[in-house]
Symmetry: C2
Subunit: 241 residues, 2 copies
Amino acid sequence: MTRKLSAIFFDVDDTLYSTTEFAKIARENAIDNMIKTGLNISLENGMKELLEVISEFPKNYELHFNKLLSRLGENTYKGINPNLIVAAGIIGYHETKHNKLKIHSDVEEVVKKLVTTKIPMGIITAGLTIKQAEKIIRLGFNKYIDPSLVFITDECGYSKTNPKFYQLAIDRLNVPANEILYIGDSPESDVDPSKAVGMISVLIKRGGKYSNATSKVPPDFTINDFYDLEKILKSEFSLKI
Amino acid sequence: MTRKLSAIFFDVDDTLYSTTEFAKIARENAIDNMIKTGLNISLENGMKELLEVISEFPKNYELHFNKLLSRLGENTYKGINPNLIVAAGIIGYHETKHNKLKIHSDVEEVVKKLVTTKIPMGIITAGLTIKQAEKIIRLGFNKYIDPSLVFITDECGYSKTNPKFYQLAIDRLNVPANEILYIGDSPESDVDPSKAVGMISVLIKRGGKYSNATSKVPPDFTINDFYDLEKILKSEFSLKI
């Protein structure tokens, strides 16, 4: 029996690209640029301390570098205006966005095929509005989706675990929830709330940060990459791609 | 008669690089990227409206793009989440920093020679701390100066027209003010206050925004570019470069 598919939504972080890997490279480039500007520490120690700062002071990475310098102390940047070192960190981080923010190749390959089906595709993601919008644009993902179907928690006023957030997407499309497929990597923030509103929930497991977490309600499908998604779309929904 | 020279300070904007030209290119790239993301306006009209926004709401360009969209109205971005267009604008602006923030070639050439004299060089500049520090790093100017000799209005708590701001540099160096040369492009913000504390004041006129302004006290020297500066340093201060 074939199920009807009316729309597909994607999570962004660790679904379209490896946020975990990107963050590691961006932070390393930041510390590296700080060292080049005169900060006297090893990359290893800098990373260790920065990760501690991030765990203690979430969000707004620009201030993370200020806090890092507060901890390392003046003797690590003797005679250098510390703002030059903070700026070097920010630049190092930003340059990584310019160079390294790339969509997974399996995502690109499969989504390009999905565009030909004319099934509306969109984004449901958690984070700060402009930061998430920036990721979509930098990844070039806006060209594959209907740009009216972008839902960001900060913009919409919900958290990702609230099923009402997913209901916004259903209301916008005006199709039954059980014809809408949603793919994300978090059992708690993606699977549970999308199931709560009756969507078809796909859990993607790329070995990221939620590899040990489980959802209260099992997802409809579990995949390792978008090639697995392609198979499901063909077998369960008879998609011709 | 030869005068003694103990230090040289530089303004940043429209002295080390053309801030006016950079801002124009960055804004055009922002509007261009917004158009590519679906904003339905001409580059010309977009620039005209953006300049109006900037004149009415100074600082913080990220919100400028939001205000621009508010003015242009929904019919210019029908069906597109406006945050995607704002993000595209921000990315277009930032990419320009990555590609186009370059020191004037005459500045680079002359300052490279000045490094060999071992005369301390520094920065005295107006603006937001991290934005000004970012410019110094992106321009690569930190490698030519003593990185302890960086004074930014926002960091120091003064405005550029307050002579006390310039006094900070004198106190840091602990040399007579009349042995310190300062180069900037604004008669009111650079010449008058540096003269008020007794520095040697050089006005650079590259045809920028202050071309019609005059200082209350005349500068010691007026130059068109850093080649003129080089001549003065040789003739008046017997610098061997």
